[in-house]
């Protein structure tokens, strides 16, 4: 395997030095199996320790290493340098998020949205583990399996034009996770989640552009989750809106 050299252009933002972001170029060696993250690591280890970015697993599952690569949200550990041979390669922080430093973005907003959709099993009655597992058929599993594959990498938010305009929009991953629980045969929390997903800033903001599903590195289809939630909502809304249970459910953190 031959070694080539690429020039990468990395967006820098170092608030203690200057309020203004800028670009910095680095030359990095690469082979056919070098990913963008390897290039960043090469820079950090051998050229410039000040470059800040997040990573851990290097196998596309921890969800830390997202960045906009030539304008497209990608996992840097799963994007190969050779794909950009002969082209310029610009690496920027994920779009639509405030930047903390260099490629590190602030994801507080998503963490709050995740909490809001109550991503845990809600049941009227919990059985003790001694009584054994809740049985689930393959078909029942299939109804929510793909939506449980979200690694929270947030590429979908970086790709979502609606989120770019309105940060109150619940957005793709949080809705996919809400639907993941709604569609799980073990869960009875549909009513508790409905006021959240059907809020003004919930699924109805989405205009089905579908960029979220295109960029998802794990084959999750958030747009489908949004559609399915809309359909369920249209069917159930008249029954659930403003019932005492609904009101109770909208209070924050009713869980314990």
């Amino acid at each position: 395997m031959e070694t080539d050299t690429a020039t990468i252009r990395v967006a820098r933002y170092r608030p203690e030095k200057s309020e203004k972001p800028y670009f910095q170029e680095y030359k990095v060696p690469y082979r056919k199996d070098t990913v963008v993250l390897d290039a960043l690591n090469q820079v950090k280890a051998e050229q410039d320790g000040t470059l800040a970015y997040r990573w851990s697993c290097r196998m596309g599952v921890c969800g830390s290493c997202g960045a906009n690569v030539n304008g497209v949200p990608k996992l840097t550990c799963a994007t190969f340098l050779h794909e950009f041979k002969g082209k310029s390669l610009t690496i920027e922080p994920l779009a639509n998020f405030p930047v903390i430093k260099d490629l590190v973005v602030n994801i507080d907003d998503f963490m709050e949205k995740l909490l809001k959709v109550k991503p845990w099993i809600i049941r009227d009655k919990q059985s003790p583990p001694e009584e054994g597992e809740y049985k689930q058929s393959g078909k029942e599993l299939d109804r929510y399996a793909q939506f449980s594959s979200c690694i929270n990498c947030l590429l979908c938010y970086a790709a979502c034009p609606i989120y770019g305009l309105n940060e109150d929009f619940l957005g793709p991953a949080a809705t996919a996770l809400a639907y993941r629980y709604i569609a799980d045969s073990r869960d009875q929390g549909k009513k508790a989640r409905f006021p959240i997903v059907h809020d003004l800033e919930g699924v109805w903001e989405c205009t089905l552009i579908g960029e979220c599903s295109v960029v998802c590195p794990k084959g999750v289809d958030p747009m489908l989750a949004i559609q399915k939630t809309k359909i369920l909502g249209a069917m159930e809304a008249p029954k659930t809106m403003l019932s005492p249970e609904t009101l109770k459910a909208i209070l924050p953190r009713g869980g314990e």
Partner: protein, 569 residues
């Protein structure tokens, strides 16, 4: 310096830490529990576990069988009371996880599916396709969100334990986002910081697995136990160290050499590809040494052949293996064998604890891969670790919840305050300001190379002596190291330097402990002492930190019902 106070502080948001946190708040209705994690909890390396988690859930299986397999797998270095408690609690924890929503794969009758795993005599490994760690971690994390008494400090990095006489009263931690150092006081601290695989060059472990908690405890005077017991997994992708799960063999995959032979028939004919990891990793190296390996750009390797499983089974049971092979090697496992070689995977040793997770230092507990409750002995069986995190994470959480009920809240006075100020000086005036020293990345690379070369799968006195020398030298170099980044905000350069400093402590404990154990047992394989020696070494190594290299003590192994016997498969 600002300080914060909680009843219980858990360091770590992986499987063990989250389980401990949930157990503590469920046990006691008033406690305030902090989970401090240097990454968002769902990024913890638990996320990468693929194959499954072991628990007895079937009629054909028994607790005794799970216990015996685990003890035999451990080459009789496991404490048998710890193993017995583990197998007894495992089914409970597995079902609890299912009730919390883990999307386990299912049999046609709706029960959780089980698969075969190395060293397990029957199918007892529960799975969620080949992404159990990911699903387990997200299930625990999302479940933890419903308890508002769990306070999270995401992306906070713990730098030291604060002790007062014989008691831990809190930690110092950097809020990575702002770069500010805080003191967090607590009546008890649970270390759940995971393993230290990044001490080695070729590993399945993520960047964050730097043994911080092991070093924290070691520095506070707690011994590290059985650190020489490092697990090397037989099937890593040669370039990246990405793991191809043992489930691939559990589902029927073959290991083949360049003559197309299933070579495991020479080593463990009774188990073939489902032998324990220590034996398979050594067998692969023997094949390679004897000229039956393949040669590649990243050294010699053998092949993992899944072709006969067929596309459908691979798609259904091993989708992540397929994704990884396609993405990172450019092959489809249904049509081509996958190149693999052995590499570091798991740390059996860790912070010495008893069966309640107690370390012996007042208020300090540990669980998960960071801890050594001695249920894995000299070789862990695949799929026991996640279950261990749940079982012993829950134990630690509950024990500590009871313990803190009778403890006073520590106050921010001396000696704790003084220690915190010293820590602030060490980090910001020492490490951060130091100019013109050596860059930390060169020290890290030399450590990883040194460990790989001298403390690997096969060891002997010469290699280990050299290993000890290298570590001592690196520790000296570390005192004159410089970070490039002098900013406070999100300084990953500084955090990496502190992690490297922790890793050097772990590397020291591993190497010295390995040198002192002059026998071969489980994963610890000495060419100069090829036999197991129960007369001298049926005991645990305890390494205590000491300025001139650790002081070694030993502790007998607890034997309940299974007398040590020769380990034949």
């Amino acid at each position: 310096m600002e300080h914060l106070t909680h009843d219980i502080l858990v360091v770590g948001g992986g499987a063990a830490g989250l389980r401990a946190g949930i157990a503590a708040v469920e046990r006691s209705p008033k406690l305030s529990v902090a989970i401090v994690s240097k990454v968002y909890p769902m990024r913890s390396h638990t996320v990468s576990a693929e194959g499954g988690m072991a628990a007895v859930t079937r009629e054909y299986d028994s607790l005794d069988s799970h216990a015996y397999d685990t003890i035999k797998g451990s080459d009789f270095l496991a404490d048998q009371d710890s193993v017995e408690y583990f197998v007894k609690q495992a089914p409970h924890e597995a079902v609890q996880l299912e009730h919390w929503g883990c999307p386990f794969s299912r049999d046609p009758d709706g029960r959780i599916s089980v698969r075969a795993f190395g060293g397990m005599s029957v199918k007892r490994t529960l799975f969620a396709t080949d992404k159990i760690g990911f699903h387990l971690l997200h299930t625990l994390f999302q479940t933890s969100l419903k308890y508002d008494r769990i306070h999270r400090y995401d992306e906070w990095f713990v730098t030291s334990l604060l002790t007062n006489a014989n008691r831990v009263e809190g930690v110092t931690a950097i809020d990575i986002r702002t770069g500010e150092l805080f003191t967090i006081l607590a009546k008890a601290v649970i270390i759940a910081t995971g393993g230290c695989g990044r001490v080695f060059q070729f590993t399945t472990n993520g960047w964050i697995k730097t043994g911080d908690g092991m070093a924290l405890a070691y520095r506070a005077g707690v011994p590290l136990k059985d650190m020489e017991m490092v697990q090397y997994h037989p099937t890593l992708l040669p370039n990246t160290g990405i793991l191809i799960t043992e489930a691939a063999r559990g589902e029927g995959g073959y290991l083949i050499n360049k003559d197309g032979e299933r070579f495991m028939k020479r080593y463990v004919p009774g188990k073939m590809e489902l032998g324990p990891r220590d034996i398979i990793s050594r067998s692969e190296l023997t094949e390679i040494k004897e000229g039956r390996g393949f040669e590649g750009r990243y050294g010699s390797y053998v092949e993992l052949d899944l072709r006969h499983l067929g596309e459908k089974k691979i798609e259904e049971k091993l989708p992540f293996v397929k994704e990884l092979a396609e993405k990172y090697v450019g092959i489809d496992p249904a049509h081509d064998p996958i190149p693999v070689r052995p590499g570091q995977h798991y740390q059996m040793g860790g912070v010495h604890t008893n069966i309640e997770g107690f370390t012996g230092l007042g208020g300090l507990y540990a669980a998960g891969e960071a801890a050594c409750v001695s249920m894995n002995g000299a070789n862990r069986l695949g799929s026991n670790s996640l279950t261990e995190c749940l079982v012993y994470g829950a134990v630690a959480g509950e024990t500590v919840a009871d313990y803190v009920a009778k403890q006073p809240t520590p106050s921010f006075g001396n000696p704790v305050q003084g220690l915190a100020m010293t820590e602030e000086t060490r980090i910001y005036d020492g490490l951060l300001k130091h100019e013109n020293g050596e860059r930390t990345s060169t020290i890290r690379i030399d450590m990883q190379k040194g460990m790989e070369e001298h403390v690997g799968i096969f060891r002997d006195e010469n290699s280990l002596r050299e290993g000890c020398r290298i570590i001592e030298d690196l520790k000296k170099r570390m005192t004159n190291s410089t970070v490039d980044d002098k900013d406070r905000v999100f300084n990953t350069d500084l955090v990496s330097a502190l992690e490297l400093d922790f890793m050097l402590d772990c590397a020291e404990a591993i190497t010295y402990s390995a040198r002192a154990r002059t026998e071969s047992r489980g994963a610890h394989s000495r060419i100069d002492y090829p036999k197991r020696d129960d007369t001298s070494f049926l005991k645990h190594t305890l390494a205590y930190r000491n300025p001139n290299g650790p002081r070694m003590e030993y502790l007998p192994v607890t034997i309940t019902r299974w007398k040590p016997e020769e380990r034949v498969y």
